[in-house]
């Protein structure tokens, strides 16, 4: 066979085969996808601080540990309400002459997915504390500290954003911790990370590999949701595992009058729509609404909080909560 002995033939055939396959499975589909996918009607291109924040995100290599893709599998449901589609990324163009387009979809989840973080965690105080040193709010976290994005000031001006860092994390430094622009830009970028809702009439893809309904298996099925896990996933980062909160940032739930008291309506309202009555604490985002809590889930959280850390509140039923939730929803939309 001649091809084994003729270098020109051998390498041209191999090269052409490779280029053809590359075209068919890479270049052609890539071109097709950038041509055929338009941004969703509700989506807004990044600009200003958020755009600068995306550059910080890329420069710091956040993509090494955080993905930004919700796959159409049930286990990804915690990171978004619908699976990601090509149109979600259609807004993204080349960053500049030097830097390529960056979908930052990522391939590793050392930390959680951030596709919908702008809906899940919106508290500026929490995020800034977490950037200064993640272990201030999540003791088990292994995320790097971004201390260099903050500076120490003895007398911060009114426009400065001051972050309350527990003294044990200041390593003997004195003064107030003030956020530099880059971390505020990063915060602005994270706020924009929200799933755009699909236009009317389009149903989102289904999540595959659904778990068999555990509720059905346990019989009554009503209170089978694990309140402790719900608390850990949604509340613990601020109010902490021991329910004591963080001094100067997040109020304790241990011995809290709201948790133990009888004003169930206020309690559910706080969970669903957030709360900000006391200046010494950070404001609470609308966790329940953002995460689409059901009455089952709210009841599970309330019951967990009322029976933990020495709290002794009255247990609630799903029916009670359902009534209040309908009422609270109307109240929220009236605001």
């Amino acid at each position: 066979m001649n091809v084994f002995n003729d270098h020109k033939k051998l390498y041209s055939i191999a090269g052409l085969l490779f280029i053809t396959l590359t075209y068919l499975t890479v270049i052609m589909p890539a071109l097709q996808n950038q041509r055929n996918n338009a941004p969703l009607p509700g989506s807004v291109p990044l600009s200003g601080d958020a755009l600068a924040g995306k550059n910080v995100y890329v420069a710091e290599g956040c993509v090494g540990c955080h993905t930004q893709q919700v796959r159409n599998v049930d286990m990804d449901k915690v990171f978004g309400s619908r699976p990601g589609i090509a149109a979600d990324y259609a807004n993204l163009k080349r960053m500049n002459v030097w830097q390529n387009t960056s979908t930052v979809m990522g391939t590793e989840r050392t930390g959680p997915d951030l596709t919908n973080i702008g809906a899940r965690q919106t508290s500026r105080d929490w995020l800034l504390m977490h950037f200064y040193n993640p272990r201030t709010v999540v003791p088990q976290s292994i995320m790097p500290s971004y201390e260099w994005m903050f500076e120490m000031k003895e007398n911060p001006s009114k426009t400065d954003v001051v972050v309350n860092i527990p003294a044990s994390f200041l390593e003997g430094k004195t003064g107030k911790v003030v956020a530099k622009p880059e971390v505020l830009q990063l915060y602005a970028y994270l706020l924009t990370l929200k799933q755009t809702s699909l236009p009317e009439g389009l149903t989102p893809m289904e999540f595959l590999y659904k778990k068999a309904e555990k509720a059905a298996a346990t019989g009554s099925g009503k209170l089978s949701i694990d309140g402790k896990a719900m608390y850990a996933a949604n509340c613990q980062t601020c109010h902490q595992e021991n329910g004591e909160g963080l001094k100067g940032a997040y109020p304790p739930l241990k011995g809290s009058p709201v948790v133990n008291g009888d004003d169930l309506e206020l309690y559910v309202d706080i969970i669903m729509n957030g709360y900000d009555p006391r200046p010494e604490y950070a404001s609470m985002p609308a966790v329940g609404t953002n995460m689409n809590f059901t009455e089952n889930e709210v009841a599970a959280i309330i019951n967990y909080e009322r029976t933990s850390w020495g709290n002794a509140g009255k247990k609630v039923t799903t029916e009670e909560i359902k009534k209040i939730m309908d009422f609270v929803k109307i109240k929220a939309s009236a605001k």
Binding site: F4, G15, F18, T25
Partner: protein, 717 residues
């Protein structure tokens, strides 16, 4: 001294206990939830039942032995001892004769307690191994991907079990012998006090016949052989006890031209430097997983350093070493001189500039956009493109002026790898098809072809040269090489998207990738068969060589890791392992087990030939074992931990729980990484010893003759 040793012992045992204790806990929590008993049964059938059968057989043998002993004891003692005497061998007969000459003799027995202890330890060890495997297999064994992975993992464990059973068998026999010891004493007295002239005469007569010996010179005579043709070589008249096996030295070859030698050594030297730097950074990153507050300096932040590590080992270590070895292999198998030395130097300088500039960019926060291995911005990457294009032209024109008719298979792989990588780099860096999800499609192709079309293809080409060369025999089958070559191109090119299964990339493309991943079985099996069949019949050479173990490890990992890659593309395994540290473990097993081991083998194979200096062989051994054991410590715990993590995710447990679970496995990873890093420092030292001009003691004979040659120049013949 003893104090510090004690401390070390307590610390290490603490770590081990801590890790196993927590792991047992986690195992309970995670595994105890839901599982079908099918997996358990399957496990029992393939593993425990044969084991029980073997243990049963051993026990039976043991019983029979004891029974036989007691039966013997019942036999008439004198009758038995006479039977013994009939079977005396030559030495024993001599002893008997001496005894009769009134000379004292002692028989010695040996203690067996040691062996019994060894047996117990070995048995418990093998129990531990099972205990670790069982929980992982319980709930998941109905998944083919998991089964294949477990089988792959079980192969070495099974070998260990067989070894343990062999030891146990031996120990049982020793134990059975205890009862015979008494008999030994009785027999000794019997022989010493024997007073039967007939038997005595018979035995002494047999002693005389046994003493007859050939002189061993009946055929050859007593004249010394003269080796006038110089056929005999490597004759050693030293018979000293040695601590380790003496490895074969590199065969001296006709000296290569000094200019190409220098170029190759510079390539390899730079690569060794980048290996130490790159993995030093990797080691630091591994430590940051368990101690995240080690520093708060922006340039050393995890997110910035991670791509610095991966890119340095990719381009600085492996690519430079590969091209350096290519400058030896390509002209060698073409039987022609290299086309241009200058191109080689420019390529070397360009690649080094790329690595330095790229690392500084990343550390200062200039990144191309975050795609894995595509973190260098295009002006930096352009230097590598220049290096690749020059290298290709250089190799191509060398092949063009070859003096052999056919193009040796190594050159198929090596030159195609460079050619394809140029295409891959252009596809990945040209801006026309990178908007939106297009960037991700290109990203999957880039990071996958970077591995498969550059590193794997090239290194397989190198193996096609080095394995036959080191074994001193031709490759097993040229046709298998051809099959592997074309199927590798067809299947590997199309599977990049399997890094983004279930993502927003079109489903047809993902399906193509999964199917292509299955197709990869063909080239992998073809190449593995080819290499192992080349080894066949020459395994003794592996033990006597300090290069072949490296190549052998590379071949084994090539098979295991590539198969694992296929399995990881299955849908269920993707659910379980995608986004976890399993990917990290897999990448290290592949890049380290295949690529790095093969490159080390190549470097140890050619550098002594180029410089005439051997590396210190104990240190080559140390390098090999540190790297080998370190890699296992790195890969296995991470894979197990990642499986736990994936299971937690699939059960929608809070994310932070899955971070906590990983902690102990990250500790093991740091330990494995440290061992690997130590091996790299040893390697760098070995390389230094191979190229340095100072360390050799003066060879008096050589030097004297050199000087004589200088004083009276011999006229050219």
């Amino acid at each position: 001294m003893t104090n510090s040793f004690k401390k070390l012992l307590t610390t290490s045992s603490y770590i081990i206990f801590f890790v196993t204790a927590t792991s047992a806990q986690e195992g309970k929590n995670i595994v105890g939830t839901n599982h079908s008993s099918f997996g358990l049964w399957l496990f029992a059938v393939i593993f425990i039942v044969p084991l029980l059968i073997i243990i049963g057989k051993l026990y039976y043998e043991f019983k029979m032995q004891v029974k036989a002993n007691t039966a013997l004891a019942k036999e008439g003692q004198v009758l038995k001892f006479t039977r013994y005497l009939k079977h005396l061998d030559r030495k024993q007969l001599g002893q008997f004769a001496k005894l009769k000459n009134r000379k004292d003799n002692n028989l010695d027995g040996s203690t067996n307690a040691k062996n019994v202890i060894a047996l117990i330890i070995l048995l418990t060890c093998s129990n531990d191994i099972f205990a670790q495997v069982t929980p992982a297999s319980k709930p998941l064994t109905s998944q083919p991907g998991i089964i294949i992975t477990i089988v792959l993992l079980l192969i070495p464990i099974l070998l260990a079990v067989v070894f343990a059973l062999m030891k146990a068998n031996n120990a049982i026999r020793k134990y059975a012998n205890i009862s015979k010891e008494k008999e030994v004493g009785q027999f000794t007295t019997y022989v010493q006090t024997l007073n039967d002239p007939a038997i005595e005469a018979e035995l002494l007569k047999r002693n005389d016949t046994a003493d007859y010996n050939l002189t061993h010179t009946e055929l050859g005579g007593t004249t010394l052989a003269e080796d006038s043709k110089g056929i005999l070589g490597n004759i050693s008249d030293k018979h000293t006890a040695h601590f380790t096996a003496t490895k074969k030295k590199a065969i001296t070859r006709p000296v290569l031209e000094p200019d190409i030698t220098k170029l190759i050594l510079w390539y390899l030297g730079c690569s060794a430097f980048w290996l130490v730097v790159g993995t030093g950074i990797g080691e630091y990153l591994g430590i940051k997983f368990v101690a995240p507050d080690t520093d708060h300096i922006s340039w050393l932040s995890f997110g910035r350093l991670r791509p610095v590590h991966t890119n340095i080992v990719f381009w600085g270590w492996a690519s430079l070493a590969m091209i350096g070895l290519g400058y030896y292999v390509v002209p060698m198998v073409s039987n022609a001189k290299i086309y241009s030395i200058k191109f080689g130097w420019v390529g070397l300088i360009c690649t080094n500039i790329m690595v330095i500039a790229g690392s500084l960019c990343l550390m200062s926060g200039i990144s191309n956009g975050g795609g894995e291995f595509r973190e260098y911005i295009w002006p930096v990457m352009a230097f590598f493109a220049v290096a690749l294009i020059l290298t290709f032209i250089n190799f191509f024109l060398t092949v063009a002026k070859r003096t052999t008719k056919e193009i040796y298979i190594s050159n198929w792989f090596i030159l195609s790898a460079i050619l394809f990588t140029i295409v891959v780099a252009l596809t990945a860096y040209l801006p026309f098809w990178q908007n939106g999800i297009g960037e991700t499609i290109v990203q999957g192709y880039f990071m996958h072809s970077g591995v498969g079309m550059w590193f794997t293809l090239y290194v397989v080409g190198l193996l096609y040269y080095f394995i036959p060369q080191q074994l001193n025999k031709p490759i097993y089958a040229y046709s298998l090489g051809i099959l592997a070559f074309w199927t590798q191109i067809i299947f590997y090119t199309i599977i990049g998207t399997h890094h983004f299964i279930f993502s927003a990339i079109p489903w047809w493309l993902q399906t193509v990738a999964i199917v292509g991943s299955m197709g990869m079985v063909i080239p992998v099996v073809a190449a593995t068969i080819n290499f192992t069949m080349t080894f066949k019949g020459h395994w003794n050479k592996v033990a006597n060589s300090y290069t072949l173990p490296f190549f052998f490890v590379a071949v084994v990992y090539y098979f295991l890791v590539s198969m694992q890659g296929t399995v990881e593309a299955f849908k269920f395994t993707n659910l379980l392992w995608h986004f976890t540290d399993f990917t990290v473990a897999h990448a290290h097993a592949g890049f380290y087990g295949i690529i790095t081991f093969a490159l080390w083998g190549g470097i140890y194979a050619i550098v002594p030939r180029l410089t005439g200096k051997e590396p210190p062989q104990h240190l080559v051994g140390a390098h090999f074992w540190f790297a080998f054991i370190g890699l296992i410590f790195y890969v296995v715990p991470l894979s197990i931990g990642a499986t736990y993590r994936g299971m937690l995710w699939m059960e929608s447990k809070p994310f932070i729980d899955s971070v906590v679970v990983m902690f102990q496995f990250w500790i093991w990873r740091a330990i494995g990484g440290s061992l690997m890093f130590i091996s790299h420092v040893i390697f760098a030292y070995n390389f230094y010893r191979m190229v340095t001009k100072e360390t050799e003691p003066l060879d008096v004979t050589k030097e004297a003759f050199n000087q004589m040659e200088l004083e009276t120049p011999v006229a050219a013949s």
